[in-house]
Subunit: 122 residues, 2 copies
C-alpha cells in the first residue's frame, strides 16, 4: 500500500512524535515532532526534518550545526500515532553537544549525568 | 540531585511521552504516556506503569496479558520533556502480539509489514 502521510494520526496541533534511533548501534538519540509536511519532506529528501514547536517552523536537523540525520528507514507504530526513524547521525544529536539527548539517568532515586559532551573533532 | 518527577515538563494534559527500549537488544518497542504519578509508580515498583489516555486510568503494562515491562533504568532528555525507559520486555510489547509496535516500514514509498505476530509460546 502506498504510504500516505495524511493517514497518520496527528495530535490537536497536527503533530506526531518521532523517535530518532541510530540505525547501526541502536542508540535512541532524541524525540521531536513532525507535521504531515515534515514527514513528506523527510521521505523525499532523506534528510530528517522536524517541526519546531518553539519556532513554529520546519527544522531540518543539523542545517546550521552540520549535525544532520540521514534517514535509513521510517517505521510506523500500531496506532499510527508515533514514528520511529532509523537514522545515521553526524556528530551529536543533542544541542548540549552530547551524542544523545537522553544523557541523564535516575539511579537509586538520584538524577545523574551519564554522558559527557562530545569533543569538537568527534 | 534527588530525582523529583514533578520537575519534568508535562504537556497540557499533564503527560510526558515515554519510549520503551529493550535494555539488552536495544530494540525500540513502543511509546506511551505517563503522568507524574505514573513516573513515581514505575520507579517505586520497577514495573512500567503508563497513563492510558483512552481509558483515563493507570495502565500497568502487562497486568492482564502478562506481557510486563521491568524497568532497568529511566533516562531523561535535555529538555526534561521526554523519557527513555530501558526495560526487559516479557513477550510481545504490542497489542497485536508483535514484539514491537513499530512493525511497519516505509520502503520506496510503500508501507509494508516487517514483523509477524509472535507465537503463543514465545
Amino acid at each position: 500500500m502506498e504510504f500516505d502521510p495524511s493517514r497518520l494520526k496527528y495530535d490537536a496541533n497536527g503533530l506526531i512524535p518521532a523517535i530518532a534511533q541510530e540505525a547501526e548501534a541502536g542508540e535512541v538519540l532524541m524525540m521531536a515532532w513532525m507535521n504531515a509536511e515534515a514527514v513528506s519532506r523527510t521521505l523525499e529528501t532523506g534528510r530528517v526534518t522536524y517541526w519546531s514547536r518553539s519556532r513554529q517552523a520546519f527544522w531540518i536537523k543539523g542545517e546550521t550545526s552540520g549535525h544532520v540525520q540521514d534517514l535509513v528507514e521510517m517505521r510506523i507504530d500500531c496506532d499510527s500515532d508515533c514514528l520511529l526513524l532509523l537514522i545515521r547521525q553526524t556528530g551529536p544529536a543533542c544541542h548540549t553537544n552530547r551524542r544523545s539527548c537522553f544523557y541523564r539517568a535516575v539511579r537509586e532515586g538520584v538524577e545523574i549525568e551519564i554522558m559527557a559532551p562530545m569533543a569538537a573533532s568527534e
